[in-house]
C-alpha cells in the first residue's frame, strides 16, 4: 500500500518535457525513438510482438524498432514518415512528448511545426558521415525557433568500433558549425540506437566517455526557466459572465498566461485601450490563487469595470509589449503555393487577429549555409525569409527570443483558410 502511494505521488510530481527529433531516413531516428520507448518500458507486449513479427517477415536480424513509430500505412509501405507525429513516454521522473518530424519531404514545414512547442531538440548525426547539410538545417531551425536545449546524438558508434577519435572528430566539426547558432546549451552523446549504447543504459564500449546517457540528460536537464516569468503578458481569450444569482455581477477575463507572474493587487494596464486598473482576483475552479504564472490557464477579475474583450492583453504599466502595425518577422512559408504579391492575409497573434500584407521581402535565408540570399526574393514552399508586414491594426508583440507566445504569428490565406506561414517577431 505504501509503495502504491509513493508511486502515485511521484507521478503527480512529474514535469513535462517536449522535445523534437529530426533526421533522415537512414540516420536512425525512428530506431532511436523506438529504443527510448522500448528501454523506458513504454511499449506494450502486443506492440513489441507485432514489431518482432514484422521484422521476422522482412528477414531482419534485429527487432526493427523503427517499425514502432512509422504510423500510417503509406509510410510503412514507402518506409518514410510524412508528417509530424506525436509520441509519448514517461519515466518515474518526467513525462515526455516527442514531436517526431521527417527529415526530408516538407522538412521546413514539419520541423518548424514540431519545434514550435519544444523545449529541446535531438539532432542525429551518423558518425560515419559527420555534419552534413541536413544536420545544419535541423540545427538552424532549432536555433531559429529558439529551442533552449540541443542534444547532438552521434549515432551508429557500433559501425566505427566505438572509436573515441571518430566521435571527437564529429563533435569538433559540429562545434565549429554551431558558433553560428543562437543556442546556449548544446550537449553531445555517443550512441548506438540499434544496440542501445548510452541511450538509456551506459555503454561498456565507450569507457572514454564521461558524460551522461541520453535518457539521463532528458530526465534531468533544467527546463524550469524555459518559460518567461519576467514580462507579464495575459492575452484575453474570452470573457466569463455567469449571469447566475450567486455570481450576478461577475465579469472574469479568461486566458492562458503567456509570460510573467501575476498577483491580486498588481497594477495592470489593458492594451489597446490603455485603461489602468488593479487585479482583484485570480480565479480557478479549484479556488482563488495568490499568484499565477505562465503557462497557467486562469480567469482574472479587475477592480474597475472597464471594457475588456478577446484580443486585448493585460500587462503591467511599466513593462509593456510593443504596439505596432509594422512588424518585422522571420517568416517560414508552409504552403505549397507561395505568397501572391499584394495579397492580404489574416494574421493571428495570441488571441488577437488582424489583416495584413507582406510589404517588403528583405532577404531569404539559405537554411543549409545560413547565408542571406538577397538577389532571389520569390518566396516558395518551405522557404524562410525576413519580411516586413503591415497590419490593419496594432498588435502587441515581443521579440520572439524573449517570449515565444507573444513573439509568434501565423498567416492564414483568406480564400482557402489554410495556415500558410509561421512567423517569429524581430523588432
Amino acid at each position: 500500500m505504501d509503495t502504491n502511494n509513493t508511486e502515485t505521488n511521484s507521478y503527480l510530481d512529474m514535469e513535462l518535457l517536449r522535445f523534437t527529433t529530426a533526421g533522415s531516413v537512414d540516420d536512425g531516428k525512428s530506431t532511436l525513438i523506438g529504443r527510448l520507448l522500448y528501454d523506458s518500458k513504454s511499449i506494450f507486449e502486443d506492440q513489441i510482438e507485432a514489431v518482432q513479427e514484422s521484422s521476422d517477415k522482412r528477414g531482419l536480424e534485429h527487432v526493427d524498432l523503427s517499425l514502432l513509430t512509422d504510423g500510417l500505412k503509406d509510410e510503412r509501405e514507402q518506409g518514410i514518415t510524412i508528417d509530424v507525429a506525436y509520441r509519448y513516454f514517461a519515466t518515474p521522473k518526467r513525462k515526455f512528448i516527442i514531436a517526431d518530424t521527417p527529415g526530408h519531404i516538407q522538412y521546413t514545414r514539419n520541423m518548424v511545426t514540431g519545434a514550435s512547442t519544444s523545449n529541446l531538440a535531438l539532432i542525429l548525426v551518423d558518425v560515419r558521415h559527420g555534419v552534413i547539410e541536413q544536420t545544419c538545417r535541423h540545427s538552424f531551425i532549432a536555433s531559429l525557433l529558439q529551442i533552449p536545449h540541443l542534444i547532438v546524438c552521434v549515432n551508429k558508434m557500433d559501425l566505427v568500433d566505438y572509436s573515441e577519435e571518430a566521435y571527437n572528430k564529429v563533435v569538433d566539426q559540429y562545434k565549429s558549425f554551431a558558433s553560428k547558432l543562437d543556442v546556449n546549451d548544446i550537449r553531445f552523446v555517443p550512441i548506438s540506437a540499434l544496440h542501445g549504447d548510452n541511450v538509456v543504459n551506459r555503454s561498456e564500449k565507450t569507457p572514454w566517455y564521461g558524460g551522461e546517457t541520453l535518457m539521463h540528460t532528458l530526465e534531468n536537464i533544467h527546463i524550469g526557466s524555459d518559460e518567461n516569468h519576467i514580462d507579464c503578458r495575459f492575452p484575453v481569450q474570452t470573457v466569463i459572465r455567469p449571469h447566475s444569482d450567486e455570481y450576478h455581477d461577475y465579469r472574469g477575463y479568461a486566458g492562458r498566461i503567456a509570460g510573467g507572474i501575476f498577483k491580486p493587487g498588481d497594477e495592470v494596464v489593458v492594451m489597446p485601450s490603455g485603461f489602468e486598473s488593479k487585479i482583484k482576483s485570480i480565479d480557478t475552479y479549484d479556488g482563488p490563487l495568490k499568484e499565477a504564472f505562465a503557462p497557467m490557464s486562469v480567469t482574472m477579475t479587475l477592480e474597475d469595470d472597464i471594457d475588456v474583450g478577446r484580443g486585448d492583453m493585460i500587462v503591467r504599466p511599466n513593462n509593456q509589449p510593443v504596439a505596432t502595425q509594422d512588424l518585422g518577422v522571420m517568416l517560414c512559408w508552409l504552403n505549397q503555393r507561395g505568397p501572391i504579391p499584394g495579397a492580404k492575409y489574416t494574421v493571428k497573434h495570441t488571441s488577437n487577429e488582424a489583416r495584413c500584407i507582406i510589404k517588403d521581402i528583405l532577404y531569404k535565408v539559405d537554411i543549409n549555409t545560413l547565408h542571406r540570399v538577397e538577389n532571389d526574393k520569390e518566396i516558395k514552399a518551405n522557404d524562410i525569409a525576413r519580411v516586413m508586414l503591415r497590419t490593419t491594426k496594432p498588435l502587441f508583440v515581443d521579440e520572439y527570443n524573449t517570449n515565444r507566445q507573444t513573439g509568434s504569428i501565423i498567416l492564414i490565406d483568406e480564400a482557402t483558410n489554410e495556415t500558410v506561414a509561421a512567423g517569429m517577431v524581430i523588432l
Binding site: 512529474m14 506525436y86 509520441r87 514517461a90 455570481y247 480565479d283
Partner: protein
Amino acid sequence: MKYSLTHLKELEAESIFVMREVYAQFENPAILFSGGKDSIVLTHLARKAFWPAKIPFPLVHIDTGHNFPETMKFRDDLIKELGVKLIVGSVQESIDQGRVREESGKNASRNALQTTSLLDCIEKNNFDACMGGARRDEEKARAKERFFSHRDDFGQWDPKNQRPELWNLFNGKKNMGENFRVFPISNWTEMDVWQYILHENIAIPSLYIAHEREVIWRNNSWLPVSEHIQLGPNEVPETKMIRFRTLGDITITGGVESTADTLAKIVEEVASARQTERGNRADDKRGETAMEDRKKQGYF
C-alpha cells in the same frame, strides 16, 4: 514558490486553453459525450474552463441503443448536475429512417453505424465544432491528429491535408458546411487520464471498477451478457470479477479480469501493464495459456 507546473497541471492548462479557443472561435460547438472516461474528463475540464459560468456547450451523445444501463444513469445524473443541454443522436432512428442497415449475425454491432448518426446529428444541429476525448497515444493514425482537425463538407478527414499547428495558435477558420473536430486532451495518455481522475476525484461509471458480472469469453475478452447479444451454441455465461478499460456499445465492449475495486488500484493496474518487461514475458505467456484454458472450458 516553485514556478513550474507538474505535467498534469500543464496538460490541464493546455486543454482548458483549447476549449476556450473553441468557445471563442466557433458559433455552435458541442462536446461529444460517450459516457466513457475520456469524455468525462473532457467535461470536467470544460467545467473548469468556464467556471463560475456553466459549460457553454451542449453534450452530444450518439446513442447506439445498446448501452450499459449504468452509463445512461451516469449520463443523466451528470447532465442534471451540470445544468447543460443533452442532445441525443440516435442510431435506432438512423436505422428506422433507412439511413443505415443493421448488421446481423452473432457479432452484430452498431458501432460502425454511429458515424452516420453522428454526421446527421452535426448537420441537423449545425454544430461547427465537436470536441471529442480522443488521444494521440491511443492509436498510430491518431498520433498525427491535430488539436483542431478540419473536416470537409462530407465530414471527412484528409490526413495529408491538415493545417500545420504551431505554438498555441489554432486556426478554426472554415467555409460554409465545413466543420471541425477538436481534441483538447490530445496530449494526454491513458495513464494521465487515470491519474487525473484519481487526483481530481472525478466520478466515473461503476463499470470501470472491478465488479461481478455475467460474461462470456469471445474475441479474446470477457463480453457482458445482455439482451443485445446472441449466445453461440457453445457459449456458456460465467460470473467473473471484471472491469472495463473502455466503455462503448455493450455488444462490443469487452472487460478484463481484475480485482481493482478502487481508483487507486486501477491506476496501479494501468501502471504495471505499462511496465511489463520483456523479462516478464514467461509470466505473461503463462497468463495467456491460463486464459486459453478457461476459454476452452467455456467452449467445450
